[in-house]
Amino acid sequence: MAKQLMKGNEAIAEAAIRAGVEAYFGYPITPQTELLEYMSKRMPELGRVFLQAESEVAAINMVYGAACAGRRVMTSSSSPGISLMQEGLSYIAASNVPAVIVDVMRGGPGLGNIAPSQSDYFQMVKMAGHGDYKPIVLAPATVQEAVDLTVLAFDLAEQYRTIVTVLLDGMLGQMMEPVELPAMRALPATPPAWAITGAAGRAKNVVVPFRLQADELEALNFDLQRKIADIARREVRFKEYFIDGANADKVHGDRAELIVVAFGAAGRVALSAVKAARQQGIRVGLHRPITLSPFPDERLSQLADEARGFLVVEMNAGQMLEDVKLSVGGQAPVRFHGRMGGQVPMPDDIAQEIEKLDGMTSRPIDHKIEGPVVLRAAVGPARKPETGRN
């Protein structure tokens, strides 16, 4: 299939449609609105359900209803709207029904602004709302990845009967990149056996998000925890650059001694910085978690055995940072570079942080970061031709 240039928000919508989403319920909020608008056009065309809910609270509860019906269903929102969904999310989790949530994060707290951010990490990754559970959280860094992870989200949601969140920031939602869309899937022929479809020719089904007796609720929680553990064992995903073996830098060789950890948009910005630092001869690599939950803690702990230090880059005050520290477990220093309030970290700032980390972890600083890449035709190549990378 030919590539298309698509906005993240719209690409996710189209990917969901091709993954067979049968119902969408949502409420407008920047920087996610294009997703809803796209759905408002495409879903009715396909004879599927689109409904603009009266609020995010209503939207998530409509999602709950459609999920109980055994239908592939999703909603999307951004930070303040996600806050309003916390109760509903907790109900969905307690009920073990599948649902896909797209959170296109924006600057906070409060009304904040509509600029990109990653400050919903805690509220989406640690657990949405009250109670003990964890949704699966997928964090794309490119529009293509957003498409692929959206399809995966529906598969995982159904496989584990869980909430799967696609967590991205406004930057990815708003930006266009070439994407290859998946083929259109057929919709499921029949809803699953547990679905609430009317007790025709079978005993009644019920979906009950509570257990009045503490022992029963604890049993339900144990089931949830088992599921979470199962997911943690099987579904960890990440992408690494310049770290070791196959993905280590061809030019500068060498396994990474410093590890940058960043997800989503921050991850791709960090990639630019890592490339630049590699060019300066710093043995640095990038670990980009794709599943924030389950978190790639084992892999990081493994890297920590040999790494001299870690740098976490986020568009928040340091949230994934805690998970990295928990994984590293004191084996190596963990530094942090974060921007807040809709500010996006810049490659040169990150590169500087890499240098600092390099220095801090006792290696002579014998290199300098050059200015940004500049224009070929107008000014000639910015870097010495032989480096071939930036």
Binding site: K3, M175, M176, L271, L375, A378, V379, R389, N390
Partner: protein, 185 residues
């Protein structure tokens, strides 16, 4: 390897979005990696709009840059905003028809294009974005004009089909205009 980062900036309505997206389409269709990102801030309505396009022959990291290698400024506020931001040695291409105080920064290439006037000459003020894009293509050589013309055919909205030739003409006029200042640079 090749790597370009461009900012297009101007009033809403000056065609910043379409001009920059067209370049992104063309890059994609030329098989390159490309990212296009708008600033979707409060200035969206009425105020100044700007978009960043990064084109590269390998996986693109940051889609936003602090110091773009080239800026296409369609109005004066854009010149004011981006003059200090252009990368050293970079390019500031500006719409000389609207920008009466030319940029003065040394160490960058400031190229005036009387785009609004040219567009008016071509019969439609809205063509100014194409004039500027033509100039940008010419100066940077990022893509051949022909590639962009093909993308134009594919992506010009149906209701503006009648403007296809005019758009192409504007692209070429822009490219022509850019010859001279480049030599002068």
């Amino acid at each position: 390897m090749m790597h370009y980062d461009f900012v297009f900036s101007g009033f809403g309505g000056q065609g910043v979005l379409f001009g920059s997206q067209l370049l992104a389409y063309a890059a994609m269709e030329a098989g390159l990696h490309v990212t296009w990102i708008p600033s979707y801030g409060p200035e969206m309505r009425g105020g100044t709009a700007n978009c960043t396009v990064v084109i590269s022959d390998e996986e693109i990291g940051a889609p936003l840059v602090r110091h773009p290698s080239a800026v296409v400024a369609l109005n004066y506020p854009s010149v004011e905003k981006y003059e200090p931001q252009v990368a050293p040695g970079g390019l500031l291409l500006y719409n000389a028809s609207l920008v009466l105080r030319p940029p003065t920064r040394v160490g960058i290439h400031c190229v005036p294009i009387p785009a609004s006037d040219v567009a008016a000459e071509l019969g439609n003020a809205k063509l100014l974005n194409m004039v500027m894009l033509g100039a940008l293509l010419q100066i940077t050589g990022v893509l051949p004009i022909g590639t962009v013309e093909q993308s134009l055919e594919a992506h010009l909205p149906a209701r503006r089909r009648d403007m296809l030739e005019a758009n192409k003409l504007a692209l070429r006029r822009g490219a022509e205009l850019a010859q001279e200042p480049l030599v002068a640079a």
